[in-house]
Symmetry: C5
Subunit: 352 residues, 5 copies
């Protein structure tokens, strides 16, 4: 289930600020890609150590360092030392059980949030940490994939808005791409809801219920990451900051609107899932009703007839009907009339 | 279901501010109708390009440009350039998945909201964007119909309040007409609720449940557009603004009251729909109870009688009753007395 | 159901401020009763036009004009003109679908609220509008009854607090009398709840459920009028005002407390109604259980016995028991012992 | 049920401030006990009229007047006149349907709250009003008992904190004793919940459900008095006041904590009662399931056997089995094997 | 159940500030361990009386006094006197029914919270009180265990952050260790939820339900301690204070984040438990459905066949079928065809 606390257990009692990597995803080989850029200049390369980056950094350039994989604790310590990052922040970068949050320090902002993706109908949660400085942006990811490749593409285009903007604008672009992953996720969930709904209308069984409950649980998990994300963005918007310029503020407002939309879609999907649960429940009791009707129709038709047959199976010596020439066919008439009468009665009650 | 995220998926990863039209309704031929008016003057015509409008514009006149259909992206770019509209606003005009909101800029306000209408018992959502400037009002709609024709009528009447008012008053009139569509919609839903309730009291079946769940879903969707609308108007009322005069403020207060009413009616209708669901549930268990009663009455009356008949169908050599002269009629008396007794018992229990 | 929106539909698209009467109750003959009063003076008469009242008005007197029936639109226009009332206020007086609210203008306050009464176990909603000016109070009611007669009585008593107070105190007295109607209404509902509860404990049927759901719906409607009323009074208390003196403020606080009490009683009654619904539900499943028990007892006792009888009804040539002298009576012993054994078993299970 | 509104009905339409006693509990003989005390002095006696008290009052003493029974309206009028108490306050003292509240006037505070006690498993609500003045504290109770006797005891101890404190400290002690009654009440409810839970685990019946619903209702009533009490204390703490000294403030904070605890225990008990309801519901459906199992086992075993017996009861001329020497015992074998087989099957399904 | 109020009952009516120990856990021998430390110095010993500690205290050292067991009331009185602690605070230390709260006094802060641990699948609540002074930290615990031993370890390390920090940092470390106990607890609950879920999927019975309800209750209890803890930390963060330095503030923010996470995990676990309850409910009705199906299949197949057999058991003289040579085998064909037909029908309905 939630393995979050499990991992924390190991850490309870340790000195705060001890740097160890706590999390699920352990990339074999951490990668560090560096991009120096400004209006006129753009270069990107893989780096091994921080010192090389600092040496290579052209003046008047902004630098984006994207670290994928959190096993290189030394590197993170180095960054902490060089840029005077608070030890608790470094600890949070390495412990991937953080709630999305913004922490504002004098020289830098620390943003941590979750990147949600879908793999084989399970949701994968990756923690992304962002350090926003005046001329540097550090991003720390748990795994290695092409999430940020559209940003790399856009950085290559000279005179794009991204090349002209500051580190705040780059941060916006990174946040934007992560938030928009939610739409893709919610699309997928919409599709699953649609399929499940059709299954419900067709021939639902116990596995349908399990599917519905899985969606419900995933929606709960998504909501859990979305609502602190909303607070995060609201607090960026509320408190002006030196690091986020007034021109960029409106772009963060735009992400905020996206998060609101994600949040509303989440709520709407939850309403739908509750609707599905109701449908399943109704299907169950409809089913029960139908079973009962069948039982009742069979029992109510044949029990009286069996009684009649039982009567003429008795061995009394003086049963005049038994001697009648047309007693037997007459009784068949009674059988048929009674049977049809009851059938008619049940049809009128709409049980058939 | 919600096709909102589906469309956003295509856009995830694109550079912000890229202008493409994202939405469901694609009018074949975008229309642009222009009205220049002031106290003394009124003219209205169809236009093809912005430049013509700017040339034709009489001095001292207010201009309302109503664009129906969002395919002419060039035109929107032109407006953006001419009036210095922020790229994100232009993007929002074209992307019809916006939450209702107000964005205040120095020279203009951007208002976006949903126009709800009913078509074949489905709710149609159309996004309407309003750009409110000092002397211009731009409205952007997704489709082409006669929603705004009452405004055109009123603009023709010289010395009407509308002709005397500013662009803020025109904006109020536009908002008012869109908000009032909700009342028409809620009327229709009221009617559907009434019909469904009668159906429930009469002879409900599974289709009734599906109808109820459809209403419920539509009410959820309406609420989703109404609650941000309330925030929108509250923020207009809260923050005074140069663009919305003090005299017009009270009219916006009036729309705000309308929205509150819409919101309350929505809540009330939801309570009613939950009442309908309860009624359906109760009908179902009543039904079950009735089926069980029929089964029980039949079984409980005939099973003992059949047992009695079975006894006298046995082939023991020494069964004195079988020889009795009135054994058979006596048994009929027992049958009838037992049967009537049980009938009487069940009637006393009110099962019949 | 809610006919509110139905009536609004007609109005959607009209120019704001158009004066037409929208509402359910159309008194045949609008009545206008006028009272001039101060410490020393008191006169009251029926009037036909506003001008007469203004002419008759003694100096230094306060004037209360109570208009019952809203069909005389000309009169309302005249008042609007004479006292410079905003057109939207006049519109709201005539449209009886308003939410309770307070609107403060420089020279006057506009208060609108609902007067609830019970007629044949249906709740009647009447809209009462109050215009509070420095020396005038106008009340606009939909129908004609003796709601305000206690006020008239008290006005006749010279040196009563009412005669010494200003228009604010008169407004308080009017509001007080309307709010206190809710207590009478809630008393009646309490009684209905009591009766329904007894019915539930006695012998509930489907009509009981319908009664409960009716009460539930009425409680929802009452809550709908009470919660904006609370806001209304809170906003009177929050914002000091020239028209409501400091001495009178405490009386409005008193009404506010009454409204809180009404609101709490409403909530309490809703809890009780939910309790009733639970009781009904429990009664239903108890019923079902009892039916099932009867069926099971009958079936479980007689089915094995019938099987036994069936055995000895078989026609095998070699069935030694059939020849036994005491086979038949022995079988009766078996029948009785088995039957009693099962009866005993079911009694032990408390099914009988 | 709630007789509150019933009593108010009588009063609706009366002039505000008319002094009549509205309430349930009418003590035969109102008692007035007076205590004058300060650091050095302490005297206590029963008094009949206010004037005597004022004459007897030693200088530099604080006076606590405790009135039990509200029938002596003249006395209350006298207090109102002497200490310049607002008429609405006097009215509220006499009308025992008040919500707990604090009203601050320049020279005095008016506090009203409920004293809850349990009598024969019914909750008794008594209204206690407190007038806090600079040198006087008046308490008005509905009935006569020893609730305040611990205070009298403590007042007798010279140099106790109570003797050294002001009227604010006395007020605190009075409030404290009333609030702590809730703990005693909640203890009793805890015990009832425990007993009911055991009953549920043992052999619940309909009376258990009625007990649960009674507890639920009482918890609702308690919550109703606790939540305004919380507001009351919060407003004492929020607004500093001349009458409540800074040193005493912390004691009120302590009561506030008690009220929070009462409120949380109430919530917790409600959760428990809902748990009990769930348990009852589960018991009911378990019961149903068991009944159905018994029916099914009986029917499913004997119905096929009866069919077999029926076959060999047929009178066909050519039924070779009937002639077989071991036909009958062979059939018994079939009966027994089939019966045991089905028994085994049902045991495997855990129905037995 | 909740024994909280039970204990308070004893205390109701006592003079406030009377020092008696109210609580469940009574350690036999209270222990007092003292640590004096600063950058350079560290000593720790067991002490018996306060005076010795004060004498031994080196200058420039911070002192942490950890008292385990609350029976030594004299000691607490002594501390109160020496450090001028408010009597209500002393009372709260001894009464272990406090809600977690922070009380700020000029010279010291009083923090009280709950330490949760799990013992034999029951949650143990221990109250921990912290007195934070400029140079002293007092901790009061109910029982004696090694909860604080990691702190002692860290204090031994010279130049550890703990040795360099002030009493505020020590307070943080203490709070941190207590809050982190919740993660261990929630881990254990997660495991129980997992096991219960597997049990539900396997073969649930009544004991499963009882387990689920136990978890539910424990989650309610945990939430009850967590939400005031959140307020506590929020109020530390909100109000700057002389006793908590700016540098330490960020560490308290970190605990606050932990509490938020605990709170969210609690909510999530509650959602899961509700999911388990739903699963149980569904299992129950599935079970019922299956029983009904078996009953219906048996009854519906054999009842008509029995009727047929009954017919040919009748004793009419003229029943031609009885004479037919192949009547009997033909009837067997009818039996088998009917039986298989019904079986086929029920299989098509997926009842088999």
């Amino acid at each position: 289930m939630t393995n979050t606390p499990n991992l924390l257990t190991e850490k309870a009692g340790m000195s705060p600020g001890s740097l160890i990597h706590i999390g699920d995803i352990h990339e074999q080989q951490p990668l560090m890609s560096v991009t120096h850029y400004n209006k006129n200049h753009h270069e990107t390369y893989e780096a091994k150590s921080l010192s090389k980056i600092l040496i290579n950094k052209p003046t008047d350039c902004l630098t984006w360092v994207n670290i994928e994989g959190l096993r290189n604790i030394e590197l993170i310590k180095e960054i902490g030392k060089e840029f005077n990052i608070h030890p608790l922040v470094l600890e949070d970068i390495l412990n991937t059980n953080q709630r999305p949050k913004l922490e504002e320090f004098e020289d830098y902002h620390y943003i941590v949030l979750k990147n949600l993706s879908l793999k084989d109908s399970d949701i994968i949660y990756e923690q992304v940490s962002i350090l926003l400085l005046q001329n540097f942006v550090f991003t720390f990811r748990e795994k290695h994939d092409d999430l940020f490749s559209p940003i790399n593409q856009r950085l290559k285009i000279s005179k794009s808005r991204l090349r002209l903007g500051g580190t705040d604008y780059l941060t916006y672009v990174i946040l934007d791409i992560i938030v928009d992953q939610n739409f893709i996720l919610q699309d997928a969930i919409d599709e699953i809801i649609d399929i499940t709904e059709e299954e419900l209308l067709d021939k639902p069984d116990h596995s349908t219920l399990i599917k519905i409950q899985k969606i419900k649980r995933e929606l709960i998990f998504i909501r859990r990451t979305v609502s602190p994300l909303r607070e995060l963005l609201a607090s960026i918007l509320r408190n002006g900051s030196d690091l986020i310029g007034d021109n960029t503020q409106i772009y963060f407002k735009d992400i905020y609107d996206h998060v609101l939309r994600v949040s509303e879609t989440n709520e709407l999907q939850r309403d739908m899932v509750y609707g599905l649960l109701d449908m399943y429940q109704t299907h169950m009791s409809n089913n029960m009703n139908e079973i009962m009707k069948v039982l009742t129709v069979f029992a109510a038709i044949f029990i009286p007839l069996t009684f009649l047959a039982g009567i003429y199976g008795m061995n009394f010596e003086y049963m005049p009907e038994l001697k009648w020439r047309y007693g037997y066919p007459a009784l068949w008439v009674v059988f048929i009339v009674t049977g049809l009468g009851l059938l008619f009665y049940f049809r009128k009650k709409k049980w058939l």
